[in-house]
Amino acid sequence: MTSPAEPSADAIRFEHVGLVLGENSILEDVCAHVPSGKFTAIVGPNGAGKTTLTLAILGQIRHTGRILFPELDGTGRRPRFGFVPQRLVFDRDIPMTVMDYLLSGLQRMPLFLGHSKRHTDRIMRYLEEVECAGLADHAFGALSGGEIQRVLLAQALLQEPDILILDEPTSGVDFKGGQICCELLRRFREKYGFTELMISHDLATVTAHADHVICLNHRVFGEGEPRVALTHQVLSETFGLHLGLPDLHGIPQDVRECPEDCPLRHEHEHLHDHCHVDGAEHSHGCTACGAHSHGKEAGHAE
């Protein structure tokens, strides 16, 4: 993995982070680290405190212990975050175009006086990157779930983040939206050099694509490179024994290859057609190709 950041530096370090809401202990003595410039996934079952931990990183909730950003030591500033929520619930009848929405967070001049060329140009560059340039003048409320996720990704990238946080970005979106977790994000990470932190309960995606994984169920049960950290013991402790877990280590090395329909098989320019054709069926595109490990990606991880 080529990363412009120092390979040894951590973007985030959790030191004994704890949080109690009412009588429920949400986070208990969480110690973990998020390597800089890499893709880290936080996995765990529903209600494990994953989203709470995200809020803690963002400084939106009080907690005990410390959350440090060693990468920025000495600069005296807090990291810039980009954030893509799980699923955007909003009033779809608000009259605004995609461009209106993206400008609303950036432009100082009120939108009723017009759009500034400087911001519009910059936004168009990012919309092109997420393959949404054609949507700039569409009504934001009329977009599909996957299109909204990509617009939100463009919005997060427009922040020029140090750390990009994605909360279950692929849940409940179409195949094209699911792409976010795979190819698109890897390209952006290499291009912009941010640290990517994804919350996920999709183990298959994590094993295939993440550089680093943190297993969280109120406590940290294990962390490290997915193929090393995700042992049977760690997984059953994190997710509970009753789950039928995929045997991630039982896959023979020689079948580490994508099936025909795996998105990673296709180069970028093919991605587009592919998705429109198959959009409906492959609601878990990443899962499909992550069920076995991807040769190319596994190579990076090792």
Binding site: F83, P85, D91, P95, T97, Y101, L111
Partner: protein, 278 residues
């Protein structure tokens, strides 16, 4: 009583009063239209209702402490607006519950005090239905100052208010100072509502805010059109409503005429939007 004399005279709607009323409405229309847009976007119509109903308690406080009624009304509206915003932000109670509790408290308090005072209970009718025809220079001046401040806020905050209304959490993470915008807007909205109560009454004040904005939503395709169309519909209903109310055949209060006209426009826009979608 000067008030009664004015009321008598207003039945004939002499041009001087009409001019004054029209001037008042020209100031109220943009206040109502633009705050209405954000009330609709942020689902704050219940909030606006609660502020309107705080008028009774405002009158009561004015009586108890012998303050000018308009000052005590504005002061209480501001306090209620900021308290609701504070509780809404900091508590796990749902917004509806928070507003509902404060709503009931201010109405009950207002009724309790006002009903003990015969003079004041006669005034209550005026706040229930409002009366734009008796608006005086002092109130016009207050509206003009509020409009200036409010427009300045819109220049500063229109974009960010839109951003926040789509998703508050994204706005926070992307370094929008959400509390500042929310408190400023709540404060200004409270003042807008309480000054509009004087014109159209407690019962109709929320309608004056949200109906033109809702109508504009049915036609607007982007944020800019929403801004100008809501102004257009607000001006049209205010001016049209006042003119209709002044006709001998109509003989209805201005507030009612304004809201009826605004609702008629909404009905047309709703039908038009339906047809367009088909």
């Amino acid at each position: 009583m000067l008030n009664e004399l004015l009321l008598r005279l207003s039945e004939f709607a002499p041009p001087e009063f009409m001019r004054q009323a029209m001037l008042g409405l020209l100031l109220i229309a943009p206040l109502a239209a633009l705050s209405g847009v954000q009330v609709v976007n942020s689902r704050m119509s219940f909030f606006s209702d609660a502020i309107g109903h705080s008028a009774f308690a405002g009158v009561a406080i004015g009586l108890i402490f012998s303050l000018p009624i308009d000052l005590s009304m504005a002061g209480l509206a501001l306090a209620v607006g900021l308290i609701i915003t504070y509780l809404r932000r900091g508590s796990r109670l749902s917004t509806d519950t928070v507003i509902g509790i404060i709503f009931s408290a201010v109405v009950a308090f207002g009724l309790a005090i006002v009903s003990r005072n015969r003079e004041a209970s006669r005034n209550v009718n005026m706040f229930l239905y409002g009366d734009i025809l008796t608006i005086d220079d002092r109130e016009i001046a207050m509206l003009a100052v509020l409009l200036a401040v409010f427009l300045a806020f819109q220049f500063f905050a229109w974009n960010r208010m839109l951003h926040i209304s789509v998703n508050e959490q994204i706005a926070v993470v992307h370094r929008v100072n959400v509390p500042v915008y929310q408190y400023l807007f709540s404060a200004l909205l409270s003042l807008v509502v309480i000054l509009c109560v004087r014109a159209v009454g407690v019962l109709l004040v929320t309608a004056v805010l949200i109906v033109p904005a809702a109508t504009a939503r049915n036609f607007a395709r982007n944020s800019r059109q929403l801004f100008f169309l809501s102004l257009l519909f607000s001006y049209a209903s205010c001016a049209g409503g006042l003119l209709i109310s002044a006709q001998r055949w109509a003989n209805v209060p201005a507030g009612a005429a304004i809201v009826l006209l605004a609702c008629a426009m909404f009905a047309v826009s709703f039908a038009a939007a339906r047809l367009r979608r088909k």
